[in-house]
Amino acid sequence: MGKNANRAALRWLEEVFSGSPSEKPEILKGVRVVEMATRIFGPYTGDLLAQLGAEVIKIEMPGAGDLMRYVTPEGYFWKNASVGFFPQNRNKYHVGLDLHYEEGKEIFRELVRRSDVVLENLKAGTMDRWGLGYLQLREINPKIIYAANTGFGQWGPFSLGRPSYDATAQAVSGMSEITGFPGRPPLKVGIYIGDFTGALTSAFAILVALYHREKTGKGQFIDVAQAEVLIRILDWTWAYTSLKGKPRTRVGNMDPAVPPSGVFRCRDGFVALSAVTPEQWRGFVSALGDLVPEEIRLLEDPLERTKGEIPEALDEITGKWCSSMKVEEVLSAAQKGGFVAVKVQNARDHYESGHLRARKSVWEVEDELYGTVTEYGPPPKFSDSPMRLKWEAKPVGYHNEFVFKEILGLGQEEMARLEEKGVIGRWDDRPGACPPEKS
């Protein structure tokens, strides 16, 4: 096949992905999700489903709502909203509903009767105690898919009464122990990695369950424990620890299994760098010149470079090489040599990246309440049924009318009565819960 044909096929890619996603079908159109979840671990699962087009109804306590509405860096509120609340709550319908009331529970059941998925991240057994657990809900909707996200799972010695946050999972799994530098304390990963990875796993399992239901008509229960998800993703940690009879330890910024690779300080910033294939290795040693000792230069096979003291030696050599240069100089030397180096990226780099914008990985949401909000867009790019961000998180109870009237068919008087009693409700007048000031 000739060069022209290649270019034609790649042009097809540009065309497919430059169009507006809003004109294409959505994968989960017509799938309704009831989300009874707070903070990140539950809500991001709902957010992913909503990015796929599901109609996600987020239930919050009238008044204050999801506690994540008040978790924001340095207590900063933007247009009365937490910037930490937006990224897990796009495309959702927000209702205020108090499940402590029997009437609140009845409304919840009516919603579940009309839904496909229930999603929650309460302590194991809580919904069951409230009469709203999987065994009770499947009586009223046998096809329901019910996903429960917890720290330790629905059963087992740790599951009963033990609360968990993201960093609990980082701690108990071993992830923090292998992150950071030797001789320094174990390091908390700078993002809520257990929440997000667990939430993604839960969304995957829900899609699996929807696919299965399409084939068989059967719903099911899904149990996702964030600590267990982190254990699952710790690559060779368990194989190594059991094989060698000693625990894997933290080794700083080098990757001892893929040397040379790591993060290095330059004169004006930091780069990450790697040379993996024989071609990349040759480019690397020629760029570093005399810094690489003769006996190491010959190690084109990446396996040979993982042996003995070689990873440490390569880390030191590369660090020395980078320390005398500027970031741009390292990047151009890598480009010339045919190995890989990138600047360690931060929020500004992402925001200004034409590449990420062209790929809709940096996405501008046009929202009726908040105007333009820049968000990270959906990672997978589907050619035929793309994920998308449609609107931002909204104040507590913002969609009460739509959900209670349009979906459940409650009358105006009934709604007023329920609101009067506190069964349903809207936002408190406080930043985090309420709408922006009118300008």
């Binding site: 096949m1 190594y240 700083g252 049924s385």
Partner: protein, 440 residues
């Protein structure tokens, strides 16, 4: 039967093998090279029962060689071993014209194809999406590359280490100890990589998520599609307010070590036998913690009296000293017991005091919880004997994920698969072997 008994009965280890997987009967071709995101993706599909055929170039996937201390078990390193189980192994030079034709024939019968070379290379050998969707309109074609197949900085599917993907994603910028003002930076006060291969794993799980979504869509549309994915972009949405804060306030989020400027206390502290996690960030929970520590006077200290004061970095540095005064007198397990005793008698926000030991991997391996739930499984390796590996990280009642057990030597299934899917006869297979296009 109560809830806990029911759910344990339905999801305990061993149940999965008796039930069907949601992806039973699906055929997945995994062509990953030097990018473990592809392998992780096909592992998740295999855990749901899909038949996964790993198709490797002669000599095998270079990621077999990504391993610590040169540890090689038969024909793979430790990182690859974890994700190669439960898959068939075919060696085929699909970048050659003859091999490419065979791959195309296999793809005409497949449900999913995963590749990490990038479309420029795949198109050049006649295996790009347009060509393969032409012979199989139901094919779901997942391309995982470092920078994606489109966009101004898109580069061909270059091989790069996980740490580079982490750096692109921004997670490294946010992890690590900050430099102390007025002092010259120590070597460890730098942006720091997550210790494990997080970009490959995030990319792999997003890959499985997108394939599952495309399969669901195919049920109603009858059509396959193309999916473009990068490991680094797979982490972006995990950075929560990183970009929204920059958009709203023009602020770049910086690394803070074990501190957190959105919630505090929410940190690791020294204890008698190592480190443990302590969180008690809402006002009621902070009160509970102060009572537990016998330090109620902290509640009157203006630096710690409110949520917003406690999340100021300079106050966090002071507060952690007070907490460590107490925690350093106890072991992590004692701290867990004391806190659990107290919060089991409370409810609401005041009960939100949370702890957990920062485990070394050998300590995690000793906890019975994970063993009972089948998160750890013993693996009998033909080359090295007994190893412990991780099982699936989630449970389902109807279609539970299965533990992948069998490890197939490189190329062990070449002949059988090519006979079955391409109808090749013995003499043809011999000829291809002599030409170096296949090996077994």
């Amino acid at each position: 039967m109560n809830w806990f008994e029911w759910i344990e009965r339905e999801t305990r280890p061993g149940e999965a093998e008796k039930r069907r997987g949601a992806f039973d009967g699906l055929l997945v071709l995994d062509l990953s090279y030097g990018n473990l995101a592809g392998s992780v993706c096909s592992s998740f599909l295999a855990e749901q029962g899909a038949r996964v055929i790993r198709v490797e170039l002669p000599g095998g996937d270079i990621s077999r060689k990504f391993t610590p201390e040169g540890t090689f078990l038969g024909d793979s390193g430790l990182g690859y071993l974890v994700e190669e189980l439960g898959k068939e192994s075919v060696v085929l030079d699909y970048l050659s014209p003859e091999g490419g034709a065979l791959l195309k024939k296999m793809a005409s019968q497949a449900d999913v194809l995963i590749e990490t070379h990038g479309q420029e290379k795949m198109v050049s050998v006649g295996l790009g999406y347009p060509e393969l969707s032409g012979v199989n309109g139901r094919l779901i074609y997942l391309s995982i590359t470092p920078t994606g197949n489109f966009g101004p900085d898109s580069a061909p599917g270059e091989v790069e280490a996980d740490v580079v993907g982490q750096a692109r994603s921004g997670i490294i910028y946010l992890t690590g100890e900050p430099e102390e003002e007025g002092k010259s930076p120590e070597y460890y006060q730098v942006p720091t990589r997550v210790g494990s291969w997080f970009s490959w794993y995030a990319g792999g799980i997003f890959g499985a998520f997108s394939v599952a979504g495309a399969l669901f869509y195919r049920e109603s549309s009858g059509k396959g599609q193309f999916i473009d994915l990068t490991p680094s972009e797979s982490i972006l949405q995990f950075l929560d307010y990183n970009l929204t804060w920059y958009h709203a306030a023009g602020r770049v989020r910086e690394r803070l070590g074990n501190f957190d400027i959105a919630v505090y206390p929410y940190t690791f502290v020294r204890c008698k036998d190592g480190y443990t996690f302590i969180a008690a960030y809402n006002d009621d929970a902070f009160r509970t913690l102060c009572e537990i520590m016998g330090k109620v006077e902290l509640l009157d200290d203006p630096r710690f009296a409110s949520f917003s004061e406690r999340t100021k970095l300079e106050n966090e540095r002071e507060l952690v000293k007070h907490i460590e005064e107490w925690t350093s007198r106890h072991t992590a397990d004692e701290i867990l017991r004391i806190i659990q005793d107290t919060i089991s008698r409370k409810s609401g926000p005041g009960a939100a005091v949370v702890t957990g030991r920062v485990n070394r991997p050998d300590e995690t391996l000793k906890e019975t919880h994970w063993w009972e739930r089948g998160v750890f499984v013993n693996h009998e390796d033909p080359d090295y004997g007994r190893l412990v590996l991780q099982g699936p990280g989630y449970k389902m009642t109807e279609t539970p994920p299965r533990v992948r057990r069998e490890k197939r030597p490189l190329g062990a299934d070449t002949v059988r698969v090519l006979k079955e899917l391409c109808g090749l006869a013995d003499e043809e297979l011999e000829r291809l072997k002599r030409k170096g296009i296949i090996s077994s």
